[in-house]
């Protein structure tokens, strides 16, 4: 394949980067990201507590109010039971005692409700604020990471950490912990209250209730298997849908519908069998526990009533029976909840580990303390014996020497993967060189602050990047204070004005995600306008390969020419005109500059360039 025609500079670069394990890896070598060994439970918890500290008022309040609310809630059945004992029979109702008791009950209930609300509110506040803090920190962290890190990790994975994992931590850990806490208090409290009334009956409740937990567990185990089967088939069917409905137009064009339908129907039928089974099994758990609970209810009722009559096994009042009945009813609930919460907390720990792994990754080196500002750059650039590799044992650039006087135009030419785009990475200090020296205006680029160095450059990559916002905002990206006139002027010079004013909203048209409906060429024109506005001394351009349409390409070309006038420029060139108009063509191969000179000189030399030229532009 012709090396010229394959596209994607970033892809090339990432390919160069990936496949190594010596980088600043999230998982540190073979170990998985968020390795439990690297982050033991204790350490994770301590660190999380660090995030909670700024919100400790919410934190403490939520726990205190949880405790108060649970205890008050548990106290109500006792009061109700006592109340029933005051209502014995006709003429035997103790109103003197009943009134204060009912009042007390009302107060307890109001208190319980109030604290329950307070607890809910505090936990929410705590978890969402903590989530926000973590999220902002994680996102900040990404902005301080070296490019090598961002290039070598799947963006989906990094985003997952910032968005989903952080959510998991919030939901699972913070809410989970309060639920766990509430559950434990409920269990302990119930036991204590029951014991305060009657030991024997307490034993009865404690001994029979586990039955329902076992029942729930057994059913869960049974249904798990069918759920797994269902999920597997659902996954297959989902895959089919994703692929075939995703390619529905293709299916249409090939009249392949009936065949796709056949496969779909087969999977769908399979899913019916598995799904029906799984759903039936799964739907057993509620009635199952309800059944056991009903039996327990009967047992407690009978034993309690016998106790009231005979005093054996326990001397109880009718109200006492009521109390035990309601405790028996609610005693099992926290157990089930606690089991659920524990799995949730485990997931949350895994998420927390993944997030911490990101937060602990090594950042890019900060600017040197004595770094200077690059003010009023002239545009002189020198590479002196520069060596660079993305991966230590795979050398990429070797002994690169370039001397660019202000205003000179360089075309970088060579097969894919030869290191052309790497030069751009090095100039902007996205990556730092291993050996040699890159100087701007006679001073090593390391001596400047990154910010001022980068401001000296203007960059247009073939992977255009526009963010969600208006056209004007996108053009003014590098120059936030720019007036509308300046933006329009830049757009005009970039040959973008014409199509912008044709948009429904003109300069205020909102660009959707990923550049919305703009064509590749239009996107590139906007990017050129953006650079035009910042008026940099040095240009780094990466020409698009084949994806641009010809008409726009002419405009892009004209815009590039306008942009390059009077500026030092380095162009990763794909277009004949660019190459021919360059002051110097740098022919790169395997990380070295093997030929340099003007188009005519190089053609006359009949070397690698001449060969490449023929394979690209001749048939």
């Amino acid at each position: 394949m012709n090396p010229y025609t394959s596209s994607g500079s970033v892809a090339t670069m990432t390919a160069n980067v990936s496949g190594n394990d010596n980088l600043n890896d999230l998982g540190d070598g073979p170990r998985q990201p968020g390795d439990p060994e690297r982050y033991p439970v204790g350490a994770v918890t301590r660190r999380l507590m660090g995030y909670v500290r700024p919100h400790r008022i919410s934190f403490t309040a939520s726990f205190v109010s949880a405790a108060i609310s649970v205890i008050l809630q548990l106290y109500t059945p006792i009061l109700i039971g006592e109340g029933i004992d005051l209502i014995v029979a006709t003429g035997q109702v103790d109103f003197d005692a009943l009134l204060p008791l009912v009042t007390k009950l009302a107060l307890v209930v109001v208190g319980a409700a109030a604290f329950q609300w307070l607890q809910g509110y505090c936990v929410n506040r705590l978890s969402y604020e903590t989530v926000r803090d973590m999220r902002v920190e994680a996102s900040d962290k990404l902005s301080r990471m070296p490019l090598s890190f961002i290039d070598s990790h799947a963006h989906g994975d990094l985003m997952g950490r910032v968005v989903n994992d952080v959510d998991q931590v919030g939901d699972g850990l913070l809410q989970g912990f309060t639920q766990l806490f509430t559950g434990v208090i409920t269990i302990v409290g119930t036991l204590a209250f029951m014991l305060s009334i009657n030991l024997t009956m307490t034993l009865v409740v404690v001994l029979v209730t586990p039955l329902s937990i076992f029942a729930a567990g057994a059913i869960a185990k049974l249904s798990n298997k069918s759920f797994t089967a269902q999920q597997r088939i659902q996954g297959q069917l989902g895959g089919h849908i994703e692929e075939y409905v995703g390619e529905q137009k293709l299916v249409d064009a090939f009249a392949y519908g009936p065949n796709a339908q056949q496969r779909f129907d087969a999977l769908n039928a399979e899913l019916y069998i598995a799904g029906e089974r799984a759903q039936f099994m799964g739907s057993l758990s509620n009635p199952g526990t309800r059944f056991i609970n009903n039996i327990i209810y009967a047992v407690v009722a009978v034993i309690g009533c016998v106790g009231v009559i005979t005093g054996v096994p326990a001397a109880l009042t009718v109200g006492g029976v009521q109390i035990f009945l309601s405790y028996a009813n609610q005693y099992t609930k926290p157990f089930n909840e606690v089991t659920n919460v524990i799995t949730q907390i485990q997931t949350a720990y895994a998420s927390a580990r993944r997030m911490f792994a990101l937060l602990d990754a090594r950042e890019q080196e900060p600017d040197a303390p004595d770094a200077v500002e690059l003010a009023a750059p002239q545009g002189e650039v020198t590479f002196a014996h520069v060596d660079f590799s993305y991966v230590p044992d795979r050398r990429l650039l070797q002994d690169i020497c370039i001397e660019a006087k202000p205003g000179m135009r360089f075309a970088l030419v060579g097969p894919t993967g030869c290191g052309k785009t790497t030069l751009i990475n090095l100039l902007l200090r996205f990556y730092d060189i291993d050996a040699g020296r890159i100087a701007v205006d006679g001073r090593s680029s390391r001596d400047y602050t990154r910010a001022s160095l980068r401001r000296a450059f203007g960059m247009v990559l073939q992977d255009t990047w526009l963010f969600e916002g208006t056209v004007a905002d996108n053009i003014a990206y590098g120059c936030p204070g720019a007036t509308r006139e300046q933006v329009v002027e830049a757009a005009k010079r970039a040959h973008a004005h014409k199509f912008i004013v044709q948009l429904p909203g003109g300069y205020d048209t909102v660009i959707g995600e990923d550049g919305g409906t703009f064509s590749q060429g239009q996107k590139q024109l906007l990017c050129i306008a953006r650079v035009m506005l910042t008026d940099p001394a040095i240009l780094l351009l990466d020409e698009a390969t084949s994806s641009i349409d010809t008409r726009t390409e002419l405009q892009v070309q004209a815009a590039f020419d306008e942009l390059m006038a009077g500026r030092t420029s380095f162009v990763v060139a794909h277009r004949l005109s660019t190459i021919r108009n360059a002051d110097c063509i740098l022919v790169m191969r395997d990380g070295q500059i093997i030929e340099r000179g003007t188009h005519d000189e190089l053609l006359a030399a009949g070397g690698f360039y001449a060969e490449l030229y023929r394979s690209q532009f001749a048939q």
């Binding site: 989902g238 039936f280 010809t550 070309q557």
Partner: protein, 626 residues
């Protein structure tokens, strides 16, 4: 929801009656339980009769056993109904999607269709299951408890009549307010993800412009915004549980007090008061469940209407009653057959009423066995134009004919077998190379496949695969390079001997040599097809490369949907300014010079037509200045 039930529920009507009926029995037993306990207390404890207590205990246990047996039947019915209906709906939906034409697919959008057939159907399925299982249980339990309480004592029952609607109101109030918030919350979370994604994909740009602080600020704002909304929702939704608890237990207070008065005057017994307390608990738990059901059904009904929207969408392109078209007899000797393979007559197409025409008044005729090249910028309507040929879209005005017959008279199946398309985006589906290649012809032999691969310049790398034709293909063809994928999609179109081949910019990832070899192979095949007495292969090539189309028998230059020029390379170069501009940006000077026989400045900004350039009368150039 109702519409879906009517359409798909008929088969399951029996289940939908049996299930809830069985559930009802359990509910009735649940309702009786407090009464039995009351009896146990009043008859057993009141009369100091241990046997009576045990007797009632046995009754409770028996009720539990019978209750669960019936429930199991109900759960089974629910599973059968919901999964059965889900399966039917899914199948019908998929079948319908297969019938939709491009216009409808564009309208819904692929991601939306995928959600509809997966999540939305699942949502409906869940609602059906819960409907069978719970729609009877919880409302009946709530109402039943209330009725039971009222039956015991009207006065005490009044407390129920106050508490129940109170809870209902609270739920309605809170949920009505929360639901819009939830939507906002999701949108805000999506925004966080968007900013994060933009930040990652644009790292280089952000850093090159030194706007890290701006991005940080943007993210922090979005995160803060989301947190604020989440806390606001939390504040509201955390009211629910405490208020339920509060109302329920204040009700109990009232029951104790009023119950005390009633017992004192002999209107009620102690056991009955207890029953009241238990009914109170039951009613209010039921209401919580009812509220949850309401949420599920609200979601499901939104899903159901999204499903219905697809099912009710009438495909705009149908081939009902179309008789198969007889292909023209092989004109082995007479290449200029009277019947053109393809002809467009004033064909126009727009994507929506009011939108500009994407294809505007295109008229052209392509004889059998010839090659048509279509060139033009992005958005000039090239892809749209060629998708009129296999009738993926219907021309709004004018007509498109294939083999002399208007495409609207063809059975779609036959038309799309005669016309093979290589789409712009080279995508394969998971399976094997073979399963991908046999899309057009299930019965294709190995020989056929290899012949197609040879033509598509793909046989070499396929042969190098250990499993050859049976080499696995991952979803989307991810395990092949762009160029390999493209060649496989070309081979896919060539299997099953199409009479017309459309290549929609489908050689863009191929290098010039492979591209040329491919075109050569296709031409050879066309000629061989004719020589063997079959129809010669007619080809339509869409490209942005001049080199790909320059040898075509006819080149159509498109500009904003209209024909800017129609003719051969030489004709167009001489007469069509747009075509010339395109050439000059792509071809080397020598080539152009050689062509024109005079010096044309290859890189001049606005080239002047070379003096003495041949003017071709056959060429049509509609563009001004051409």
């Amino acid at each position: 929801m109702i519409e879906l039930l009517r359409r798909f529920g008929g088969k399951f009507r029996r289940y939908m009656v049996i299930g809830p009926a069985c559930k009802l029995i359990e509910v009735i037993f649940d309702l009786l339980t407090p009464l039995v306990i009351a009896q146990m207390i009043d008859k057993g404890i009141g009369a100091h009769d241990v046997n009576a207590v045990i007797h009632y205990g046995m009754l409770l246990a028996a009720m539990a056993v019978i209750g669960i047996s019936f429930t199991l039947v109900c759960q089974k019915m629910a599973a059968l109904t919901s999964q059965g209906m889900g399966t039917d709906i899914r199948g019908a939906l998929y079948e319908h999607i297969n019938k939709l034409s491009y216009a409808e697919l564009d309208r819904f959008g692929t991601p939306s269709l995928i959600t509809r057939i997966t999540n939305d159907v699942n949502q409906v399925q869940l609602a059906v299951a819960l409907g069978v299982r719970m729609l009877i249980r919880w409302p009946f339990l709530a109402v039943g408890s209330m009725c039971a309480a009222l039956a015991i004592d009207l006065k005490l029952g009044m407390i129920f009549l106050i508490c129940t609607p109170a809870i209902g109101l609270v739920f309605w109030f809170v949920m009505a307010r929360c639901i819009p918030y939830y939507k906002q919350l999701q949108a805000k979370l999506d925004r966080i993800a968007l900013i994060c994604r933009e930040g990652l994909s644009g790292t280089r740009v952000v850093r090159a412009f030194v706007r890290e602080d701006h991005e940080r600020e943007r993210f922090a704002q979005a995160a803060d915004d989301q947190a604020h909304t989440a806390i606001a929702v939390g504040k509201l939704s955390s009211i629910l549980n405490p208020v339920t608890f509060l109302v329920m237990n204040l009700g109990v207070c009232a029951i104790l007090w009023v119950g005390g008065i009633q017992v004192n005057v002999g209107e009620l017994t102690q056991g009955q008061v207890m029953a009241f307390v238990n009914y109170m608990t039951q009613t209010l738990t039921s209401i919580v469940y009812v509220a949850n059901l309401v949420v599920v059904f609200t979601k499901a009904s939104a899903s159901a209407s999204r499903v219905n929207e697809v099912l009710n969408c009438v495909p705009s392109i149908t081939d009902e009653n179309n008789e198969p078209v007889a292909l023209p007899q092989a004109p082995a000797t007479d290449v200029d057959a009277p019947v053109p393979a393809l002809s467009l007559s004033h064909a126009s197409f727009s994507f929506g009423a009011g939108a500009a025409n994407a294809v505007n008044d295109v008229t052209l005729e392509l004889p059998l066995g010839k090659t048509l090249g279509i060139i033009g910028g992005t958005g000039s309507g090239k892809s749209t134009l060629v998708s009129l040929i296999p009738r993926l879209y219907d021309a709004g005005t004018g007509s498109v004919s294939v083999m002399g017959a208007d495409v609207r008279t063809w059975p779609l199946d036959q038309l799309r077998r005669v016309v093979a398309t290589v789409p712009q985006r080279a995508s394969l589906v998971s399976g094997t190379i073979r399963s991908n290649l046999t899309w057009r012809d299930e019965a294709a032999t190995d020989e056929d496949l290899w012949a197609a691969l040879d033509m598509a310049q793909a046989s070499e790398f396929v042969r190098n695969k250990p499993k050859g034709l049976d080499a696995p293909v991952e979803a989307g063809g991810k395990n092949f390079s762009g160029g390999q994928r493209q060649r496989l999609t070309i081979a896919r179109a060539l299997v099953g001997s199409p009479q017309i081949l459309i290549m929609d910019d489908s050689a863009s990832a191929l290098d010039f040599k492979t591209d040329a070899a491919l075109r050569h192979a296709i031409r050879e095949r066309s000629m061989r097809g004719a020589a063997e007495g079959g129809l010669p292969l007619t080809t339509v090539i869409v490209s942005q490369r001049v080199s790909t189309v320059r040898d075509a028998d006819m080149i159509c230059v498109l500009d904003h949907g209209s024909v800017a020029g129609l003719g051969t390379h030489d004709e167009l170069y001489a007469t069509c300014q747009l075509y010339r501009e395109i050439c000059q940006s792509q071809l080397r000077r020598e080539e152009l010079e050689g062509q024109q026989g005079s010096a044309v400045p290859a890189l001049a900004p606005s080239p002047v037509p070379a003096p003495g350039a041949p003017t071709a009368p056959a060429s049509v150039c509609a563009k001004e200045g051409c």
